[in-house]
């Protein structure tokens, strides 16, 4: 997942990074094909070099030391709203076929949820305003659902020109990377592009809560290079963020 996520970052882009796996993807991208990518962190920090050590949160001292800008959240969110941020990463508890994410609550009643999740953080802002949204999630039928209980971070709504109709600028999810495969979005719906080594289209179909659409060019996901694996192991030697084989 990290290797695939890193591939989604292009050189020179401004990227809302977030924590956990996206942060590692940023590290990998910076050290391989995207040395001029710039990382935005929603507490108000901009870095053009990854932090020198593993981070547990974006506010850890090593993520501030050596940053090029330590500003206010609203300054970075302003650049995002201006359309100056190319890509952002988010994850979620649930996603539907149109890329709508729920990180708020499971169950029909927001006031009395079956499971209370932490909420949006900056995720809904990134989903609303970035040029491209890169979604990373564990693959599970209960997580990839036909429809989500609460749209925290809007994807393509009900598909078609929904984003335009509700007033959102362009953008929306460009890719969904799961523990099993990679989906792209066509006309606002997820289409399976590749399956990770060791899995298959059929397994993914069985683990997906919506009627799977498969690209005619479906293939196995490119394996991470030794270089990439070495970067990941160097950055997270204890496997704190990657120990679940992610």
């Amino acid at each position: 997942m990290v290797a695939q996520a890193a591939r989604e970052i292009r050189d020179g882009e401004r990227v809302f990074v977030g924590m956990r796996l996206p942060l590692m993807a940023f590290v990998v991208a910076k050290r391989t094909h995207a040395p001029n990518a710039v990382g935005f962190f929603e507490l108000g920090v901009v870095r053009d070099e990854p932090a020198s050590e593993l981070l547990y949160t974006m506010g850890d001292n090593p993520n501030i030391a050596g940053a090029i800008w330590c500003a206010r959240t609203v300054d970075l969110m302003g650049l995002l709203q201006r359309g100056e941020v190319h890509a952002g990463f988010i994850g979620g508890a649930e996603i539907d076929v149109h890329g709508n994410l729920n990180t708020t609550a499971i169950g029909p009643d927001r006031a009395r949820p079956a499971v209370q999740l932490p909420g949006s953080g900056g995720g809904a802002d990134i989903a609303s305003l970035a040029h491209r949204l890169i979604v990373i999630m564990p693959h599970d039928k209960r997580r990839l659902r036909a429809s989500v209980d609460f749209v925290t971070s809007p994807g393509y709504g009900r598909g078609g020109d929904w984003r335009k109709r509700v007033g959102l600028p362009g953008g929306g999810p460009s890719v969904l990377i799961t523990t099993l495969g990679v989906f792209r979005f066509a006309d606002g719906s997820a289409v399976l592009e590749s399956f990770h080594p060791g899995t298959s289209v059929e397994r993914i179909r069985a683990e997906t809560g919506w009627a799977l659409r498969v690209a005619s060019t479906v293939r196995e996901t490119e394996r991470p290079s030794e270089e990439v694996l070495a970067i990941i192991r160097q950055y997270d030697p204890q496997g704190f963020w990657t120990r679940r084989g992610e």
Binding site: M58, Q81, S120, G121, G167
Partner: protein, 301 residues
């Protein structure tokens, strides 16, 4: 001027009434004034509205201790360890009490506080259009931008009764230097009716005045200055101490059950007299977190 330098106990006692709206944790993950939150719990304040973007576990503790009636926040959890158990119990089961949630994103809470700081009634934005947050929050309005005709979401100002910020240093009047992430701290402080500053160090006015660009809030907005070293543990304070990651994990494991939460609170909050006793209890673990960092390049005024 009457002395503003008082203890955390006095600051909570004098400035936080039951039912108050309180903004804290406004720098997001770092500089969270846990010392303040714990004193609120010890004084059994009730029916508070908590305001903040990402509070890490401070909000969870206040909710679990029964101090909270409403949360206006973008995220309530345990940043490096996962979900917030006390928040879950309150929302899912009403334990220890039901709380109301006003869902925000980081951008809308920032804009609400910025509007408050500006004295503007609201700010117009395009974020969250089409998100269920816009509907669930209950205080936003959709409107037409009269210049372009496009849809905008109007985020009304938030004016906290009290904003609490933790900083590296302040003078006795409350002129406060904060470096490292600001998040929404400055907007929250300027938006508030009253500000409490928890300073790792109290310094002469001349130290503050040697670098007025570092001042996050001027003393003229500040009602109380508390000299409270280590006020943010287990969250970090740039150039002073690091984050105690393991403490967050321990909290996560310990508070899965109601009984576990009660035991954790008894051990770390109600069972200690104040922050000094808390740091003493941490012992060498606390000393190991100290990290004085590297000096900023010189600037001359």
């Amino acid at each position: 001027m009457p002395g503003k330098v008082i203890s955390t106990r006095e600051a909570v006692g004098r400035l936080v009434r039951d039912g108050a709206s309180v903004a804290l944790g406004c720098a997001l993950e770092p500089a969270i004034p846990f010392a303040f939150a714990h004193e609120v719990i010890r004084q059994r304040k009730r029916d508070l509205e908590l305001i903040g973007p990402i509070s890490d576990i401070a909000f969870d503790q206040l909710i679990g201790a029964g101090c909270v009636a409403r949360v206006s926040a973008a995220w309530v959890g345990n940043v490096s360890a996962g979900l917030a158990h006390a928040y879950r119990r309150a929302m899912e089961q009403g334990i220890p009490r039901r709380i109301e949630v006003r869902d925000h994103s980081n951008f809308t809470i920032a804009q609400a506080l910025l509007a408050g700081a500006l004295g503007a009634p609201y700010l117009p934005t395009r974020t969250l259009l089409g998100s269920d947050i816009a509907r669930a929050n209950g205080t936003f309005r959709e409107a037409q931008d009269p210049f372009s005709g496009e849809t905008v979401l109007l985020v009304p100002a938030i004016v906290p009764d009290v904003t609490v910020i933790a900083v590296q240093r302040a003078d006795e009047d409350g002129n406060a230097h904060l470096w490292g992430p600001w998040g929404v701290s400055q907007e929250a402080a300027l938006a508030a009716k009253s500000v409490i500053v928890l300073a790792d160090q109290i310094v002469e006015r001349a130290v503050i005045a040697s670098d007025p660009n570092r001042t996050i809030v001027p003393g003229t907005k500040v009602a109380a200055v508390v000299h409270q070293p280590g006020a943010c543990h287990p969250s970090p304070l740039q150039g002073r101490y690091r984050r105690d990651h393991e403490f967050f994990h321990e909290y996560h494991r310990a508070t899965r059950s109601i009984e576990g939460f009660a035991a954790w609170l008894a051990e770390w909050v109600t069972g200690v007299a104040d922050r000094d006793a808390y740091l003493h209890k941490l012992g060498p673990r606390w000393e190991a977190l100290r990290d004085s960092g590297k000096p900023a390049a010189e600037a001359r005024f």
